[in-house]
Amino acid sequence: MDGVEETLKRIESNASVAGTIVLNSEGVPIRSSFDSGTSSRYGREVSEITALARSAVRDLDPQNDLQLLCIRFNKREIIIGAENNCLLIVFKNLPE
């Protein structure tokens, strides 16, 4: 039986992962490997864009739902796992 910390550690043990943030349904970070300022900034922005993406998916097919959202920046990538408004953001460094 493994808990929250073990699951997050397992994800973070992946070589390319730089950190994770877990957001609750209000977009407030509840677990984070970054400082609180960074976490809440990402929390705000990511929950907004995820809500947009989810509404787009549901508009296209009301039976369907958003599972995963990848956003690629110039230097990194974030992968967002979504379910019941809970969000897990995984930060991934890109190889040079």
């Binding site: 699951t7 997050l8 397992r10 509840i30 110039n74």
Partner: protein, 500 residues
């Protein structure tokens, strides 16, 4: 004989008192009593109030971050974990976005004129734009004013003008910052890492470094007129990385036959001579075709640094020599020391086939370690390999002089040349016919294009300085800024070909 005598007293009445007494009068007067009263007023009650909010958000969040597991979180994470790990692995194996650079700017088909910059004072004095340089952020253009048409010593004042193109209200007729200089400025170069620092060379041989973040006196350091400094006009200055990481020195070249390396000492406001290099004809390794004539010193007109090898620099001379040089050379130069604190060294390693006139400009390719271009009075641009004496390619750019040539920072096969007829010709070696891919011309013909500069961070911008004191900012078309798929390969082929 003697006897007592009693004399009667004589009484004399005062006449003065009598006469005064007659004039005396006494009078009196009185004012009625002044009545006065005191009254006071005072308020007795005072109210002050204040209010303050406590930063509660932070605590709230920390509480959240370390709080107990909300119900369902474990299930959520477990469900999402498998999917995420799968996606991470898939992502790291994927090569879909390799080499992909998002480009959010609109593609443009045309080369367009964005701004025409000029500074009022300089036009009245008839000053030319002698050099332009973009700051490392790519938003500020530094324009040096001087003269390119006469070789006279003069006391004419000059300046370096800066415009920030990203400012909301760009004033093309009024520079954002004007650095006044007591002599004509011949060259200018922005620091590769610190946007506020600008190095400049003057016609009187001085080398300066300005710090534009200082409001009082922008001159951070200068060589002054010391025994170490140049005695002839400085033709070019460049920032050179020093051995200590993150530190830069200023390399300056002069027609007096020297290349000097300076370090900046901001505390004393001085430039300290760190190395001196001198060129003497006898010490230049030459091919058999080169005849030795004229004076023995070699006036250095052009300077180029290799972005690949920090020990290498290229030098072009008034006599047309193209020399490959090494900073670490230890051979002492065969010149009189002239009182310099550092013994000049002879850095020349290799000599390329000399061109027929003064070399005005050289530039190393940012995409291939062996390639460089050179240009001069003959109107030709030569593409050279560092490994061969003869040019790989010669392109006729103009019937007039070529004042500056520079490779594009984004397209490996493109270079631009500023010509004496006022045009800037942009060549694309991808096209087999060696005709310009684009020609930039504005203003009156006959106004020489004296200098140009590609913008490193924003390769779509090209600045062109002219002899009428104007600086044109051009936006290049997409085909001149976006590299094709196998352009580096083609450049490699050009570099590997053997000169005819």
């Amino acid at each position: 004989m003697f006897s007592d005598e009693t004399l009667e007293s004589v009484r004399v009445e005062s006449v003065w008192r009598k006469s005064q007494q007659g004039a005396q009068q006494s009078k009196s007067c009185q004012t009625p009593a002044v009545s006065s009263g005191h009254a006071g007023v005072q308020t007795g009650s005072r109210v002050s109030s204040s209010t303050q909010t406590e930063p509660q958000q932070q605590d709230h969040q920390l509480e959240n971050l370390n709080g107990p597991d909300p119900p369902g979180l474990v299930d959520f994470l477990r469900r999402v974990e498998e999917l995420l790990i799968k996606e991470l692995l898939k992502n790291s194996r994927s090569h879909a976005f390799d080499g992909f650079q998002a480009n959010w700017t609109e593609p443009s088909q045309h080369v367009s004129h964005l701004h025409g910059l000029q500074h009022a004072g300089t036009q009245e004095q008839g000053l030319h734009v002698s050099a332009v340089s973009w700051s490392c952020t790519g938003s500020v253009i530094a324009c040096a004013y001087g003269r390119t048409d006469d070789g006279d010593w003069s006391n004419q004042k000059s300046c370096v003008c800066l415009w920030n193109l990203d400012r909301r209200s760009l004033r093309p007729k009024q520079a954002d910052l004007v650095l006044d200089v007591p002599a004509a400025v011949t060259s200018v170069c922005c620091h590769p890492e610190r946007p506020a620092l600008i190095a400049g060379g003057l016609y009187n041989g001085e080398v300066l470094v300005w710090d534009t973040s200082r409001t009082q006196d922008p001159v951070l350091a200068q060589t002054g007129m010391s025994a170490d400094s140049h005695r002839e006009p400085v033709y070019q200055v460049a920032w050179v990385p020093l051995q200590k990481k993150g530190e830069f020195g200023v390399l300056s070249s002069s027609s007096g036959g020297g290349v000097l390396l300076w370090t900046v000492d901001p505390d004393q406001g001085r430039m300290v001579l760190s190395s001196a290099y001198a060129f003497v004809r006898q010490q230049v390794p030459h091919s058999s075709s080169l005849k030795i004539r004229g004076s023995s010193t070699v006036g250095v007109t052009a300077l180029a640094l290799s972005p690949w090898d920090s020990d290498t620099f290229l030098v072009g001379s008034e006599g047309g020599l193209l020399l490959l040089c090494s900073f670490s050379s230890q051979i002492p130069a065969a010149v009189a020391p002239e009182g310099r604190s550092v013994t000049p060294r002879a850095p020349t390693v290799f000599s390329f086939r000399p061109s027929s006139g003064p070399v005005h400009s050289m530039h190393c390719s940012p995409f291939h370690r062996n390639l460089f271009v050179s240009a001069g009075t003959a109107g030709l641009v030569h593409v050279h390999s560092l490994l061969q004496a003869d040019p790989l390619l010669s392109v006729r750019v103009s019937d007039s002089y070529v004042f500056q040539v520079q490779w594009s920072p984004s397209r490996p096969l493109v270079f631009a040349a500023a010509t004496g007829q006022g045009e800037v010709q942009i060549f694309d070696l991808n096209r087999r016919s060696l005709r310009p891919a684009a020609t930039i011309q504005d203003g009156a013909p006959g106004q020489t294009a004296t200098c140009l500069a590609f913008n490193g961070p924003n390769p779509r911008l090209l600045a062109v300085g002219r002899s009428d004191g104007t600086v044109g900012i051009w936006q290049l078309s997409s085909d001149l800024t976006e590299p094709g798929p196998n352009e580096r390969l083609q450049l490699e082929q050009i570099a590997n070909q053997v000169a005819e």
